[in-house]
């Protein structure tokens, strides 16, 4: 377990944005050294939701006698109830203790689905991402954002072309204008609906 903690912390030190270190649920819950808030992690278990949600991931990830609370927003796939899944996200703590803030998941062992890590968003760079595009804000000061699976929010400098609905999960191509304390500002070069995966109906 200490070795796992070392590897996890090493991964975090090297590049906190780089990937989600995998750790089994018993190991994760058995070693406080692995449970640092803000730590990205991937783990596995059986998902037991608290309700019939379509946008919300809110329940327990169970592995034998071990369980971890799971909560967050569905991105492009909603884990089925009682399915064994691989899930990735960020460890958080609240008054009820440790939980995993959900980023995304896949059926256990389905390597066709991998975590999507947002690359460095350097000014001037062109990047291709999977993101949910949303119109937000109050009229007339509305604006559009692209939010990635790992919850990076990028403000779009201009609205997308007409016909792109708010909530669309798309493969977007962006040119980064600036990155700073207010977040990232980018030009949207293209947006193609993400094929394949079952999407949660967005709209919100």
């Amino acid at each position: 377990m200490r070795w796992a903690a070392f590897l996890l912390s090493l991964a975090a030190c090297q590049s906190p944005q780089a990937h989600y270190p995998y750790v089994t649920l018993p190991v994760l819950l058995g070693d406080p050294g692995l449970q640092a808030a803000g730590q990205r992690v991937m783990t596995s278990g059986v998902y037991r939701p608290n309700g019939p949600y379509e946008r919300l991931v809110h329940g327990v990830l169970a592995e034998g006698r071990h369980s971890l609370r799971l909560q967050g927003e569905a991105f492009d796939w909603l884990p089925p109830a009682d399915a064994r899944i691989d899930v990735w996200g960020v460890l958080r703590r609240d008054s009820q203790g440790l939980y995993l803030e959900f980023h995304n998941a896949r059926l256990h062992g389905d390597r066709t689905r991998q975590p999507r890590i947002t690359p460095p968003l350097d000014p001037g760079a062109e990047v291709e991402l999977v993101a949910r595009i949303r119109q937000v804000g109050s009229y007339p000061a509305t604006w559009w954002v692209a939010q990635t699976e790992d919850r990076v929010v990028i403000r779009l400098a201009a609205p997308p072309p007409p016909g792109v609905p708010s909530g669309l999960v798309a493969i977007v191509r962006l040119r980064i204008r600036s990155e700073g304390p207010l977040g990232t500002l980018a030009d949207l070069l293209s947006a193609v609906p993400l094929p394949g995966a079952l999407p949660p109906p967005p709209g919100g």
């Binding site: 939701p49 608290n50 309700g51 019939p52 949600y53 379509e54 946008r55 919300l56 991931v57 809110h58 909560q71 967050g72 927003e73 569905a74 909603l78 884990p79 089925p80 109830a81 609240d94 008054s95 009820q96 949303r134 119109q135 937000v136 804000g137 109050s138 009229y139 007339p140 000061a141 509305t142 604006w143 954002v145 939010q147 929010v153 403000r155 201009a158 609205p159 007409p162 016909g163 792109v164 609905p165 708010s166 909530g167 669309l168 999960v169 600036s178 990155e179 700073g180 304390p181 207010l182 977040g183 500002l185 609906p193 993400l194 079952l198 999407p199 109906p201 967005p202 709209g203 919100g204």
Partner: protein, 504 residues
């Protein structure tokens, strides 16, 4: 209490069970019972024969071979479909038919293919046990505790300059923002009424006193409901709110009465460098001074103040940097007009906007704000009907619970409602029709408890047939069956919508 339901296994039960329900018991218990039985594994059911006056919500998983059908005694069928899936950008379609259906239903009505656990009453103990689990709230992030700056405070007679966009925001930059010099005509502990020095005659002292008095009142009402507007320039949320009155608001849009500009809550050094726009570094709102004496001005101020509180709490207290979809943002502000006492039942703008929506609903997509041919105000009417419904059904703290969380709107509402977001929108559609047409449906899931939608005016319906839809676009269809019974059929096409169905 008597519960009848069928539930068939959905694509992701229990996350997305197929649920077709008619309830004879209070909604909360019905919801809980539904969850008790929704994963019973029964086969899908599509030929539903509810009794007269039945109300159904139809989930996408309720369709069998692309069709959903229901028959009941009566003569009129109402169908309100809504496609919640913004995954595809193209126009999609489905079709609705209303006709006389089958021979008269059997006197002893039963739903087709009841689930093993269905069609039985739920004990109060069962209901309470599950209720406790389902309604467990999500724990929010802790609020700001460390002051970042000292709140600004102004006294009457103060002067200062403000940056302002005077053109559509998409093209507003630091280079074309104008500077306005304004005077604080009247100030209180909570408000400072600034007036553009070019428009001082628009807001004389007596009017400024009236407006700041109104501001102090709605400040109390709205902050009591949503929380304090904490942000870097108002860290405890108790600082003055600047209301800047200027006719330059009209240069953006001649009908615009006021707006909130979020950039003002960020350091100017950052906004100029990263967004190429100036910030006033102030908790402030912009109002059209030519409209200052209108009876609607206090409600406009309350509306814009609600935006300020909403953004402050979401962005700065809960670090929800993606903020919220426009339909919810505007709907929340409309609902706060109600809370402040200027709303629908006080002949506020909400009633007028709802009236426009009832006439133009087919052209309103909630996720394409203002993009369709409908009057922009009809979008506000639709958004208001969403948030008003949430308050009426789930409690007056519902919107506060949604924004005082780290979750997006839809999952946050699901955490409160314990049902799929789309089903909530199907229920809202039923509530709209129920109230607009005076159908007398008393189930609290399908009615507004605080407003009478029919007061907003007549409602337009589409005819049965093919429905071309965009995401989150209610299609209100009415058709005649009869004379003894009515059958509604929804046939999925490129869209499989959620739907509310009323057989009357």
């Amino acid at each position: 209490m008597r519960l009848r339901l069928t539930a068939s296994r959905g694509r992701a039960c229990p996350a997305g069970p197929a649920v077709i329900t008619t309830f004879r018991i209070p909604a909360v218990i019905a919801t809980l019972a539904l969850l008790l039985s929704a994963c019973g594994g029964s086969p899908s059911s599509t030929a539903i024969r509810p009794p007269a006056g039945s109300v159904l919500t139809v989930d996408p998983a309720s369709y069998s071979n692309g069709t959903f059908s229901a028959t009941a005694s009566g003569s009129t069928g109402y169908v309100a479909g809504i496609d919640m899936d913004a995954f595809q950008e193209a126009l999609r379609s489905y079709s609705v038919s209303v006709d006389g259906g089958y021979p008269a239903p059997a006197a002893a009505y039963r739903l087709a293919a009841p689930s093993p656990a269905g069609d039985r009453p739920v004990s109060p103990q069962e209901a309470e046990a599950i209720f406790a689990i389902l309604r467990r709230g999500l724990v929010p992030h802790r609020p700001l505790t460390r002051p970042l700056t000292v709140p600004f405070s102004y006294s009457t007679g103060s002067q200062r300059s403000f940056w302002m966009c005077i053109q559509p925001f998409a093209t507003c930059t630091a280079s074309n923002q104008v500077q306005i010099t304004a005077t604080a005509v009247h100030t209180t502990q909570r408000s400072a009424i600034f007036v553009d020095n070019d428009n001082l005659s628009d807001v004389p002292l007596a009017l400024a006193q009236t407006l700041s008095g109104a501001a102090d009142q709605f400040w109390q009402a709205i902050t009591a409901n949503l929380g304090l507007p904490q942000n870097p320039y108002n860290t405890d949320g108790l600082g003055q709110i600047v209301f800047l009155f200027t006719r330059k608001v009209g240069q953006i849009d001649s009908n615009l009465a006021g707006f909130f500009f979020p950039a003002d809550l960020f350091p100017d050094s950052d906004t100029t460098q990263y967004w190429n726009i100036h910030s006033n570094q102030t908790n402030m709102l912009y109002l059209h001074s030519a409209f200052a004496s209108r009876v609607s001005m206090p409600s406009t101020m309350a509306h814009e103040f609600a935006h300020l509180v909403h953004f402050s709490r979401r962005f700065f207290v809960y670090q929800k940097t993606s903020f919220d979809p426009t339909y919810f943002v505007e709907g929340l502000a409309m609902a706060m007009e109600d809370i402040a006492g200027y709303g629908y039942n006080n002949n506020g703008s909400a009633r007028y906007f709802v009236g426009l929506f009832l006439q133009q609903s087919a052209d309103v997509s909630l996720v394409r704000w203002g993009a369709g041919p409908a009057d922009i105000r009809s979008y506000y009417g639709a958004a208001y009907l969403v948030t008003r419904y949430l308050l009426d059904r789930f409690g007056t703290d519902t919107l506060s619970r949604v924004i005082n969380s780290t979750l997006d709107v839809a999952p946050s509402v699901e955490s409160i409602s314990s049902e799929p977001y789309g089903r909530t929108f199907a229920s809202i559609a039923i509530a709209i029709v129920n109230s607009a047409q005076g159908l007398g449906i008393t189930d609290p899931r399908f009615r507004y408890s605080t407003i009478d939608v029919s007061q907003a005016g007549a409602m337009s319906f589409l005819n049965p047939g093919t429905q071309a839809t965009t995401p989150m676009n209610w299609r209100f269809v009415r058709g005649q069956g009869g004379p003894a019974q009515v059958r509604v059929t929804i046939t999925a096409g490129t869209s499989t919508p959620y739907a509310g169905v009323i057989l009357k």
